[in-house]
């Protein structure tokens, strides 16, 4: 339990310090908010529209597809390291895994998920 | 050996199925005959069962279980498709199928012009089947099934004229009240299963005396829960309000269900479970008290009603009160005997009243009747017989059964002065209100000259005659009934002889008749007559009229006030309101749940958080 003790001491100290600093600055600092002051600061230029712009939903589609395949590939690293112990069975398993991913890939391609227009 | 007794149940069931599927396709007459035939055959089979039972020695007549097949078997829980044949169930078979058959025949005439003739008969057959299932049940399960089914059949029949809003409302009310009773029964069955490990009558009743001492908590709980069902079905206070409203149904239905058979189911239940009730004297006392209070309560309301069917309906409640009184003071076979005689004369009264209504084209208000004696002689004489029986006129069947109960209410072990007093007063009231109806309806002049009353056809008259015969003579069958039923209740009935009390009871009845006669015979008709014939001595007549005023002031006004008070305060505002409140409460909560269902995901998440926190609190702190 001792390591938990130190960790908890650290956590408590961190919380107290952060909390104290925030509290002090709010209590002590003079505040006089005006509409002008509340505008986000953009190099002195007065903002004309919302900073959050809209972009097409297919951007998100592509991003999601990328992430899915990306993470699946990451899964292969530990497999590759342990392949000598996993032997033939491990190889077959990975082939099945890639085959399923392949089906998904074919499907996405066929559906036009990779096309921009 | 009694496997053939299943036919008693199956015949009406087949009738119901056949009529509801093919009712529209077969000729109308044939549908009626088919409906009657199934019940008639069922009656014949019941008679065969009776003969077989009588052939056995008295102590071997009990506990014959006819099992078709084993329905459910899981570990210790078993459920057989079986019926119980013993004197009590055969006794009920005979009443249900016998009176039922007569009423079926009557209905052919009464419902003649109804466009949905075959639907009516299919419902009637359904009712007979359910009632037979109820009395034939060999365990609490089928008892409850039959119990629920008669409720359903009653619902369908009360609301038979579905375009009539009042009928539909009455049907719904009856259904709700009966469901309350069903819940009590179901819970009772659970408690019984919990306590005995079985819901079989034979097992439970055999085990009960060894398992529990008198007034044990469990037995009290079971008996009281069963009573909820019994009171709801038999219209005892406080679950009685549906019965008068149920008169919205066709009159044969009132005769069959709300006089002769279904409403007596509660009495039957107490008789069937008498082993349990004998272990619970407190409950018995409660039954007797409720019975006697209902008797006087309903009797007093009956005295001020103008609807001919409502009077008889309150009278039914009142007579059921007598039966429960008999049950409560432990004279079970007397209660069953009164059940039987009541079935005859009350069915007779209803059918005769139906004949009147039929003759007057649907008029039910007794103030608009009168002078039917000469127009409808047969109806008149049969109604008079029924009224005499109900009033307990000496040597009619009602005399034997009611007299015996009144005597027992004092002499029996649990009897006391209060029971006796109220029973006697009620006897007087009974005679009064039924003869009030009689005088209003049949004696004097016709009040409504627009109507053209006519005697009913033979097919309606014949049942009246049959029932009159039984209502008159069945009183003499008392010893036979007693001997037949005594093995069930395990003892012979003690017959009390007390000429003083007998005289009082008879006098109460006669007094009621005479009072009714004095009030209702000497009024308007004679007044009119006197006005014309003896114009000079008008003053005298006026004085005569004055007597009426005094009567009115001394008797009618108070009675009306009391009856009105009961009806207004106790029924409308008390019980009806309570029932409505429960319904409204459920609706209110339901509405609250709809509001809680706000449609906002964040409030759903809040619900879940509340749930999680509650569960965690339980887990951590308990």
């Amino acid at each position: 339990m001792t390591e938990y003790f130190f960790i908890s001491v650290f956590a408590i100290v961190a919380l107290v310090v952060v909390g104290a600093l925030l509290a002090l600055s709010t209590i002590l600092g003079p505040r006089n908010p005006t509409p002008q002051k509340l505008i986000p600061y953009e190099c002195g230029i007065i903002p004309r529209e919302e900073a959050k712009g809209r972009y097409p939903v297919r951007f998100a589609t592509i991003a999601m597809l990328f992430i899915i395949f990306d993470i699946e590939v990451v899964f292969m690293y530990p497999w590759a390291v342990a392949l000598d112990q996993l032997q033939l069975f491990g190889l077959i398993e990975m082939v099945v895994f890639i085959a399923i991913l392949g089906i998904a890939y074919v499907y996405i391609w066929g559906r036009g998920g990779l096309e921009w227009d | 050996m009694f496997l053939y007794a299943w036919l008693i149940l199956l015949l009406p069931l087949l009738g119901f199925i056949g009529l509801s599927w093919y009712g529209d396709k077969i000729p109308k007459k044939f549908a009626g005959y088919l409906g009657c035939a199934t019940v008639g055959l069922s009656f014949l089979v019941s008679v065969a069962a009776l003969i077989d039972l009588l052939a056995l020695e008295a102590d071997k007549r009990l506990g014959h279980v006819a099992t078709l097949y084993q329905w459910v078997s899981s570990g210790t829980f078993q459920l057989n498709l079986s019926i119980l044949i013993d004197p009590l169930s055969v006794f009920m078979f005979l009443i249900v199928t016998g009176v039922g058959f007569v009423i079926h025949v009557y209905s052919i005439g009464y419902m003649d012009e109804d466009p949905e003739f075959s639907r009516f008969f299919s419902y009637l057959n359904l009712f007979i089947f359910s009632m037979l299932l109820l009395v034939a049940a060999a365990d609490f399960f089928f008892l409850i099934v039959g119990w629920a089914f008669v409720g359903l059949a009653s619902y369908l029949l009360i609301g038979f004229w579905r375009e009539k809003t009042s009928a539909v409302l009455a049907a719904r009310k009856a259904f709700v009240m009966n469901v309350i009773g069903d819940v009590g029964m179901v819970i009772a069955a659970f408690v019984i299963f919990d306590a005995f490990g079985s819901i079989n009558f034979v097992d439970v009743f055999a085990a009960a005396p060894d398992k529990f001492r008198a007034n044990d908590d469990t037995v009290l709980l079971i008996t009281l829960l069963l009573l909820v069902g019994a009171f709801a079905k038999s219209a005892q206070i406080p679950l009685h309000t549906w019965l008068p409203d149920a008169m919205e149904g066709p009159t044969p239905v009132s005769a069959l269900i709300h006089a002769a058979t279904m409403v007596t189911a509660g009495v039957y239940l107490v008789a069937r479970c008498h082993v349990l009730y004998e272990l619970a004297p407190y409950t018995m006392y409660f039954i007797a008290a409720t019975g006697v209070i209902t008797a006087v309560f309903a009797g007093s309301i009956g005295m001020v009603q103008y609807d001919i069917k409502r009077v008889i309906a309150y009278s039914t409640m009142s007579q059921l009160g007598y039966m429960f009184l008999a049950m409560g003071i432990g004279v079970f076979s007397l209660g069953m005997f009164h059940l039987m005689t009541h079935a005859f004369f009350k069915a007779l009264l209803f059918l005769a009243a139906g004949s009147v209504i039929h003759g007057l084209n649907g008029e039910q208000d007794i103030r608009k009747m009168g002078g039917l004696k000469s127009v409808m002689p047969l109806t008149h004489i049969t109604f008079l017989i029924g009224a005499l029986c109900l009033a307990g006129f000496p040597l009619t069947s009602g005399f034997f059964s009611k007299e015996a109960i009144i005597l027992s209410s004092w002499h029996a072990e649990m009897g006391n002065f209060v029971f006796l007093g109220i029973a006697v007063i009620t006897a007087g009231m009974t005679a009064f209100y039924i003869f009030r109806v009689y005088f209003y309806t049949f004696i004097g002049k016709q009040r409504n000259t627009d109507a053209h009353p006519h005697e009913s056809p033979f097919i309606m008259a014949a049942p009246l005659l049959i029932l009159s015969f039984f209502a008159l003579v069945m009183g003499f069958a008392a010893p036979a009934v007693d001997a037949f039923l005594s093995p069930v209740f395990g003892r012979e009935m003690v017959h009390y002889h007390d000429s003083f009390l007998e005289t009082i009871a008879v006098l109460a009845g006669l007094g009621g008749i005479v009072t009714a006669g004095l009030i209702y015979l000497t009024s308007q008709d004679k007044l009119e007559f006197a006005k014309q014939a003896f114009a000079p001595i008008y003053d005298l007549v006026y004085n005569k009229y004055y007597v009426d005023e005094i009567y009115d002031f001394l008797i009618v006004k108070p009675v009306r006030a009391i009856g009105g008070f009961f009806e207004e305060k106790a029924e409308r505002e008390g019980i009806d309101r309570a029932v409505d409140e429960v319904g409204a409460g459920v609706r209110q909560v339901s509405y609250g749940i709809s509001l809680w269902q706000s449609g906002k995901v964040r409030s759903y998440a809040l619900n879940m958080i509340v749930g999680v926190v509650t569960v965690l609190l339980f887990v951590v702190f308990f």
């Binding site: 112990q85 089906i103 559906r111 | 099934v145 459920v586």
Partner: protein, 508 residues
């Protein structure tokens, strides 16, 4: 480090139904790319083929599965999965339910929906997830399979929305139909609350691991039995959180709020499918966890299961009283039935488990039948499922009305329908375990339910129709109604045989 993989208990044959369904699902996904084959007719036939094969396999495997008597080991794949009759009988339940969704494809997905194949594929993947869930012997497998079926269902709920392929431009204002809007609402609500519940569930599993040092369900039970130090606060909290997560799936109060909204908005075939299948799947895993892993600490979980059960029955039944939309009404009714089912868990006995299986099997037929009738009677728009559409049905289609009455009566639990015996067995199990109070409360709750079930019957038989409402009885739905009717009557007359089957199938 040489024996990392245990080849001995890899019972691939026992996985045959799951594999068949998986292959079918993937096959359909690829076939859907072909424009000519992407039609409801072809796709549903392919799905039916797969479901049929899986059904046959499951029935065969039920017979072969190890039982307590045969002495063989039920665990396989290092106890990640369990091959017993319990899982196989649940397979049958899921597969039969999926038939409903497939038959419902005559109307959903709609003709202009380009993603027809996905519908079938997702239904099959949902079924596969559920099948794995019922089989799972390890909390991790349980969680993964639960997520597989949940995620698939989230998408399916939104399926009556017309699916674009991303071609419309953001500024296009398309007037959306009521179906589309409510379906989208349904899917979003289900996703958000579902994700929340999954988080709670997985946290509970983690704490369970922290408390016992294992995620294997049987091992947890063994540890709790043998090692008193195992029953510590972490286990209790983990158990509580797991219960909350699973309670969401079976919609116990207060985790039920999503149910009416989601059921109403989702396409009817999916509503019908998920109403029974989700419940069955979650109850399978609840039964495994509480009956196999946690029976020793019964006194800890009994109070809140008891409370949840009572609350659920009451809220479900009372909430349904006011509903004019039949789908919403059935949603509340489903909540109430979850409460009844939970009584079987509370009983914590072999009989209780068997009664749950029995009840689910019965509930399947009642509910699938009722939803089939709802599907047949369904109309357009917000009033499409109004109870008023049932007015006067008895005149126009006596058989359909009679069947619907039977389903309603059975749901209300009238004897001698099968629904009555479902309740009866649950109650008897509870009474035997000494919980008479809960059965009494259950009876009171079911009396309330009589009101709204009978209301449908009253509408059909005692009201005249306002206007002529056309409807067609599709072949598949007709078959479902017929089969359900026969099943309810048959199980009502001969419940013992089904109960014997259920008793043979309790988990071990």
């Amino acid at each position: 480090m040489s024996s990392l993989i245990n080849f001995d208990d890899m019972n691939w044959i026992a996985l045959a139904p799951e594999l068949i369904i998986l292959v079918t699902a993937l096959f359909i996904l690829l076939v859907g790319l072909n424009k000519t084959l992407n039609n409801n007719r072809y796709l549903s036939q392919a799905s039916l083929l797969g479901i049929g094969a899986a059904l046959v396999c499951s029935l065969y495997l039920w017979n072969m599965a190890p039982t307590a008597a045969s002495g063989t080991q039920p665990g396989m794949f290092s106890n990640a999965l369990i091959n017993d009759r319990f899982s196989q009988i649940f397979n049958v339940i899921f597969l039969v339910m999926s038939l409903f969704a497939v038959f419902g494809s005559v109307r959903y997905p709609q003709a202009d929906n380009e993603n027809k194949a996905e519908y079938f594929s997702l239904v099959l993947l949902t079924v596969m997830g559920m099948m794995f869930l019922a089989k799972s012997g390890n909390l991790i497998t349980a969680f993964i399979s639960l997520e597989i079926f949940s995620v698939s269902l989230y998408i399916l709920c939104g399926f009556s929305a017309k699916h674009g392929t991303g071609r419309e431009i953001a500024s296009d204002k398309v007037e959306l139909s009521w179906e589309t809007l409510s379906s989208q609402e349904s899917t979003v609500k289900y996703l958000l609350t579902g994700a929340f519940a999954s988080a709670i569930l997985v946290y509970g599993m983690a704490l369970m691991y922290a408390g016992t040092g294992t995620t294997e369900i049987r091992l947890i039970g063994q540890l709790l039995r043998e090692n008193p130090y195992t029953s510590n606060l972490l286990v209790y909290i983990g158990m509580g959180l797991m219960f909350c997560g699973l309670a969401f799936k079976v919609s116990l109060v207060p985790f039920h709020s999503w149910t009416p909204d989601v059921y109403q908005g989702a396409p009817t075939p999916i509503t019908g499918f998920m109403s029974v299948a989700t419940k069955a799947a979650a109850f399978a895993v609840i039964a495994r966890i509480f009956f196999i892993a946690l029976p020793e600490i019964q006194e800890i979980w009994m109070p809140f299961l008891f409370g949840a059960s009572v609350l659920t029955m009451l809220v479900g039944n009372i909430g349904a009283v006011f509903q004019d939309n039949v789908k919403r009404m059935l949603a509340y009714s489903g909540i109430a039935h979850a409460g009844y089912l939970l009584i079987g868990i509370v009983a914590n006995s072999q009989e209780g488990m068997a009664s749950i299986i029995f009840y689910l099997a019965i509930y399947l037929f009642m509910n699938i039948g009722a939803f089939a009738v709802v599907f047949i009677m369904e109309g357009e728009g917000q009033e499409g499922n109004s109870i008023n559409r049932f007015k006067g049905l008895a005149k126009r289609s006596p058989l359909l009305a009679a069947a619907m009455s039977l389903f309603m009566v059975s749901l209300a639990g009238f004897p001698p329908t099968a629904g009555f015996f479902g309740k009866l067995y649950v109650f008897v199990a509870a009474i035997k375990a000494g919980y008479t109070l809960i059965t009494i409360l259950a009876v009171i709750a079911s009396v309330i339910s009589v009101y709204f079930y009978l209301r449908v019957i009253v509408m059909m038989y005692f009201h005249e129709e306002d206007e002529e409402i056309p409807f067609t009885i599709h072949k598949g739905m007709g078959a479902i109604v017929t089969v359900s009717t026969v099943a309810i009557l048959a199980f009502g007359l001969f419940p013992s045989s089904l109960m014997q089957l259920a008793l043979d199938s309790i988990p071990f």
